[in-house]
């Protein structure tokens, strides 16, 4: 468990530190270097150099612009090559990952909040509320999730600013995913309601608000935590899907899905294989979340 959390931290750190680790801003274009393959770094007496027009330029640590490494202007360092506009794929990959992660986290917060509210109300008050909320949940589950996501996205304006589209896609993803946590939390609340200490507190005259806050919500913490580790990677995938389909954040802001969409072009596949990098970068991140979620589930089941 500890090792798996460590792996997760190691994988997420580069994304969180994107502003420091990336040698270039995500939108910086080098029009004279489109589709450059990954830059070769030469080591001469254990010091790294980059070649440009036959000259060697030293790869410098802390070049003074608040970034970890870089080279002086005429030379460029593209660790994972560049795209059609000569933008550094490595830098964009880090920034794009940060965006996916932010979407995953925010959407998870939203859907857990919705799920908690719905689950507690349905489980605690039961009756009419329960019926309404659970039927609503079935309704939300009556469509395949991506179809639902696209259908909801279709209703909203298509051409909106980058920040708006980030918020919109986060909100949609979070709002669409509330059903599963809500059902699980409802179950916990239903069984918790009849536990001895809850009945005792009620016998002493505790109100609904107090019972929920003090006794029932803490009971749901375990389920909510496991759900969070399961939902974050799912929602990151959903964000990738949306931006791949051209409905997420748009240019020039990078996202893994959007970058993969560029990589899908025939000539890109044939000649510029490094454009696939953002897809490969997603694998360790998702794997780390999966491993932590597995370990957590296993521990809870014991």
């Amino acid at each position: 468990m500890k090792r798996r959390c460590g792996f997760l931290a190691v994988v997420l750190a580069p994304l969180l530190l994107a502003g420091f680790l990336a040698p270039y801003p995500y939108a910086e274009q080098h029009r004279e270097h489109p589709y450059v393959p990954p830059t070769a770094v030469h080591f001469i007496r254990a010091r790294p150099f980059v070649q440009e027009d036959g000259h060697l330029y030293p790869l410098r640590l802390f070049p003074g612009n608040g970034r970890l490494f870089g080279v002086d202007p005429p030379a460029v360092v593209f660790l994972l090559g560049s795209d059609a506009y000569g933008r550094d794929v490595f830098s964009r990959l880090l920034y794009g990952g940060r965006l996916s992660l932010a979407t995953g986290l925010l959407a998870t917060l939203l859907s857990l909040a919705l799920g908690l509210a719905a689950g507690v109300v349905a489980g605690y008050f039961g009756g009419w509320w329960d019926g309404l909320l659970m039927r609503g949940g079935e309704l939300a589950m009556a469509l395949p999730w991506l179809y639902l996501l696209l259908a909801v996205r279709a209703v909203l304006p298509l051409h909106i600013s980058t920040l708006d589209s980030f918020l919109v896609s986060t909100a949609i993803i979070g709002a669409v995913g509330w059903v599963r946590p809500a059902r699980l939390i409802r179950g916990v609340v239903l069984s918790g309601k009849e536990r001895g200490f809850v009945l005792a507190a009620r016998g002493f005259g505790a109100g609904h608000g107090y019972l929920i806050r003090r006794h029932l919500l803490p009971l749901t913490a375990g389920v909510a935590g496991t759900q969070a580790t399961l939902l974050i990677p799912q929602f990151m995938l959903a964000e990738m899907a949306l931006s791949f389909l051209g409905l997420g954040v748009g240019e020039p802001v990078p996202s893994w899905g959007g970058m993969l969409n560029e990589a899908r072009q025939y000539h890109a596949l044939l000649l510029h294989g490094w454009l696939l990098a953002p897809g490969l970068a997603a694998i360790p991140v998702l794997l780390a979340f999966l491993l932590v979620a597995d370990a957590w589930l296993f521990r809870r089941s014991e």
Binding site: L158, A241, L290
Partner: protein, 322 residues
């Protein structure tokens, strides 16, 4: 049969609710197909209004819903303004293509998952089980999208597989055997992506379900009576473990259809996915609504089928439910 009737009624109610909700949502959406001409100096506002009225968009809401619903029941899904043709014939081929893809993927995924899951469950803690667990975890972490593009890369680089589409040129002139081979050749990669995405999930569930029944007292007594291993696994334990797997079959349909949408778009398979995406982009709500309704129908039917199969094969449900 009361149970079947109730499930059927429940599914129908769900579909009606979906239809009302999606119809309402499509109405409150800002802009429609005609709003693309709003700023166009060649087309006056009056013309646009007249076009709207002509297409019946100016009638009151319940009337439009009634007309739409009545049309659907007759198999008429409305008129696509972007394609300038009725929606139903547009959908027909797309549905076949999507169902072909998802159907084959389901079949192959289960064919892989059941033996592998059972094998893995009988070898817990041994290297075979560990290897299979590690492999499924890794496969689960690879997004379908990445798999699709990686396989596309393979197809482009080697030329072994086509890079999109459903049939080669001159398909209609081929003999039936050749047609089948051509179709299989085009389907191979999309189906492979879907299988690689679905099978790990199924393997994990089969393994978990089998582990549970392996521990059951009846399994121990059957083994003590000397029933051969293979017979024990497939005739005695698998049917008992089938319950969660059948409902999984219904539930996984939603995931599969979603994955299929992505794969279809990424690999150029002419299914419902690309059509849906284009309709969303063009604000062609007749097509959007039709695809939404269809996907809901697929899902509801899938779950209904799973419920009914479960009722047939699992006596435990029959006794509880009467």
């Amino acid at each position: 049969m009361k149970y079947a009737g109730r499930r059927l009624l429940h599914g129908a109610g769900l579909l009606v609710a979906v239809s009302v909700l999606s119809f309402l949502l499509a109405q409150v959406a800002p802009g429609d197909f005609y709003s693309q001409w709003r700023g166009d100096p060649r087309i006056s506002t009056a013309t646009v209004a007249a076009l709207r009225a002509q297409s019946g968009m100016a009638r009151p809401l319940p009337v439009r819903y009634g007309a739409w619903m009545a049309g659907i029941l007759r198999g008429d899904f409305g008129y696509s303004l972007a394609y300038r043709s009725p929606v139903a014939p547009l959908l027909k081929e797309r549905i076949v293509a999507t169902l072909l893809l998802t159907g084959c993927a389901t079949l192959f995924a289960w064919l892989i998952a059941i033996p592998l899951g059972i094998w893995s469950a009988t070898r817990t803690g041994m290297w075979g089980d560990r290897l299979s667990t590690a492999a499924t975890s890794l496969l689960l972490a690879i997004p379908d999208l990445v798999l699709a593009i990686a396989l596309l890369l393979l197809a482009v680089q080697t030329g072994w597989f086509p890079t999109g589409g459903k049939e080669s040129r001159g398909y209609s002139r081929m003999g039936p055997v050749q047609q089948l081979r051509d179709l299989a050749w085009h389907m191979a990669l999309p189906v492979a992506v879907l299988v690689l995405g679905l099978a790990p999930v199924l393997v994990r569930h089969v393994r978990a379900a089998m582990l549970e029944t392996l521990d059951a007292p009846f399994a121990l007594s059957a083994r003590a009576q000397g029933i051969p291993r293979r017979r024990l696994l497939f005739r005695h334990l698998l049917p008992a473990a089938l319950n969660p797997l059948v409902s999984l079959c219904g539930v996984s349909l939603g995931t599969l259809l979603s994955a299929s949408l992505l794969v279809e778009v990424a690999m150029g398979w002419p299914g419902l996915g690309p059509l849906f995406l284009e309709a969303v982009m063009a604000r062609d709500f007749a097509v959007v609504l039709a695809v939404v309704m269809l996907s809901a129908v697929f899902l509801v039917l899938g779950n209904l089928a799973a419920d009914l199969v479960l009722y047939r094969i699992d006596p435990r449900i029959r006794t509880v439910d009467g």
